[in-house]
């Protein structure tokens, strides 16, 4: 299966590429745009990006696998990132993670998606929101401090939508 981004995404990709002195420097922004549209970056998408930027496919694979925010498998409609670095751990982050896994029916595997496809759960290192620990992000929007009960309520609200 070949992959081609939408016309709108291709236009935004063109603008991103034009902003840099060298085309290959647009690799991260282009991957962000593709993931924003598709939810993840498939091997076919990697091949399309390599051709678009004129770089070897291995360089795209290296970058996709190096940066933790790039996802190689389909994600849920909403992605929740829970911080469990020091300030959040001191404030009870492990309880938040455990409550979310229970609510979503997930095991300890990181980045897994609930069986209904609604939410993916990722544990991350510091989100830079330590005075609001324990904190998390719902599709990039900061929330905190959250109790385990508040985190479960967030999931229920997402699934009720």
């Amino acid at each position: 299966m070949s992959y081609v981004p939408s016309a709108e995404a291709r236009e935004r990709i063109d603008r991103a590429v034009a902003a840099y002195p060298e085309e290959s420097a647009a690799l991260l922004p282009v991957l962000h745009l593709i993931q924003g549209e598709s939810g993840h970056i498939s091997p076919e998408a990697e091949a399309w990006v390599a051709a678009r930027l004129g770089i070897p496919p291995i360089r795209v694979r290296e970058v996709v696998t190096f940066y933790t925010m790039f996802r190689r498998r389909p994600s849920g409609q909403t992605v929740i990132q829970v911080c469990r670095n020091l300030s959040c751990t001191l404030a009870g982050a492990e309880g938040v993670v455990a409550a979310l896994r229970r609510e979503l029916g997930l095991g300890p595997g990181d980045g897994d998606t609930a069986s209904d496809g609604s939410v993916s759960l990722v544990t991350v290192e510091c989100l830079g929101n330590c005075d609001r620990a324990p904190c998390l992000q719902v599709d990039g929007i900061d929330r905190g401090p959250v109790t385990p009960e508040a985190a479960v309520a967030i999931v229920r609200e997402i699934r009720g939508r």
Binding site: L90, C126, G128
Partner: protein, 415 residues
């Protein structure tokens, strides 16, 4: 809040926009620099102000600017490090949210002083929402002729690119940051050559932290003497202290440099919550070796903290209460450094993952009596043996924790 507080940063995000910033006197310093000062004089003023890097390493900003070779063909670049990832640090986030124009103004001054026409702001991927506001601020500044072509009617041009990272702590290391902007994995480069000579796309490059650049407008506007008079020690000016963990009032505090760590925690943070005593404090982000409760009288300046075998680093203060097992802190550290090591240098790649495995074994109740010495030996094997400062940033705090709380860890192993 005591009268010691200096307020350069607005207290909330209600007045981030250009109109509000101009009412606070915004862009007057950039105008003064671009239309009335010689580049060499700008650099001299910033050097005189003693402004040291606020990202962690504390390198003098004016000196860094002066390292860029003058004259010669080809572009030069300014890279702004907004990859705030040092655990316990949330100051650059506040500048991006509350006062993005102050950053842009500092960038204009720096770029003009060094002869730069293109700047790249590297924003960590987790701050994507904040980058949206930054883009709005850039558009506002362009609309008024503060960015773009012919700034303030002069012949000086400055173009700004916002570049989003994608979740990699190592990209806060300046040469890894350059690799990431160039569209590669964030693997730090071997130095020399230093970025001032061979940096982004092989061209001379200045890399400054967000807070460092945001300090520049006040220095140019009010003068180096005003700035140096604020600090309470050899360090000059004010800093943003991120305070979190076991305190009553966690938050961001803008205070003179050199204030004792205990004063920040007790007087501003309100001390630990009822019934909790301080066990230890991380003074400058997770990579700064922790201090015991009896070591908190140290002033928060580079020299004093260095003498206390720690560092001010990013000024991210995390207070650890006496109810927290020290092993829990070590587990977080070991996992973090093993996860974030880029894997390029063997001592760091093997060292961090071996320490993580060992700490996990102790936490699982299967610790061996030799494990504590093994952790110390592994940290010794990393120190000074890697391309970039990450190896030390992992080894030193874990070594300090084990050395200072060895008795408690021995009890965990013996359980």
């Amino acid at each position: 809040m005591s009268e010691d507080a200096v307020r350069l940063l607005p207290a909330d995000e209600g007045s981030w926009d250009l109109g509000s910033y101009l009412r606070r006197g915004g862009y007057a310093s950039a105008r003064k620099a671009v239309t009335g000062m010689a580049p060499a004089d700008i650099i001299a003023e910033v050097r005189k102000a003693g402004l040291r890097g606020r990202g962690g390493a504390g390198f003098p900003a004016g000196l860094k600017w002066s390292f860029v070779p003058q004259g010669g063909p080809g572009p030069r670049y300014l890279c702004v490090n907004a990859d705030e990832g040092e655990p316990g640090t949330f100051k650059d986030r506040a500048i991006l949210v509350r006062d993005p124009h102050r950053l842009l103004e500092g960038m204009i001054v720096a770029a003009f002083a060094v002869g730069i026409r293109t700047a790249v702001i590297y924003v960590r991927g987790e701050y994507a929402r904040l980058a949206g506001r930054l883009r709005e601020a850039i558009a506002e500044a362009q609309g008024r002729g503060f960015l773009g072509r012919g700034i303030f009617g002069s012949a000086f041009d400055l173009e700004v690119i916002v570049h989003l990272g994608a979740g990699a702590y190592i990209c806060g290391e300046e040469t890894a940051l350059l690799e990431s902007i160039e569209g590669r994995r964030g693997l730090p480069r071997l130095k020399p050559p230093f970025p001032a000579v061979v940096g982004l796309f092989g061209s001379p490059t200045v890399i400054n932290n967000v807070e460092t650049l945001a300090a520049v407008p006040a220095i140019i506007g009010r003068g180096a003497d005003w700035y140096t008079a604020i600090g309470q020690s050899k360090d000059c000016g004010v800093r943003l202290f991120s305070l979190s963990g076991a305190v009553r009032r966690p938050g961001l505090y803008e205070l003179p440099t050199g204030m004792p760590l205990r004063t920040i925690i007790e007087d501003f943070g309100g001390g630990p919550p009822e019934g909790v005593a301080i066990k230890a404090v991380i003074p400058g982000g997770l990579s700064a070796p922790l201090l015991r409760a009896d070591e908190l009288g140290v002033p928060m300046d580079f020299e004093s903290m260095g003498q206390a075998c720690s560092m001010v680093g990013s000024a991210g203060i995390v207070v650890i209460g006496d109810r927290t097992p020290i092993l829990e802190v070590l587990e977080v550290m070991a996992r973090f450094y093993a996860h974030e090591s880029c894997g390029q240098c063997t001592p760091c790649r093997i060292g961090t993952s071996w320490i993580h495995k060992t700490v996990t074994r102790i936490a699982g109740g299967h610790g061996r009596s030799s494990d504590i010495d093994l952790i110390l030996r592994l940290t010794d094997g990393m120190k000074g043996r890697t391309f970039c400062p990450f190896g030390d940033a992992a080894a030193l705090p874990m070594h300090a924790l084990v050395a200072k709380f060895r008795d408690e860890l021995e009890r965990e192993v013996g359980r």
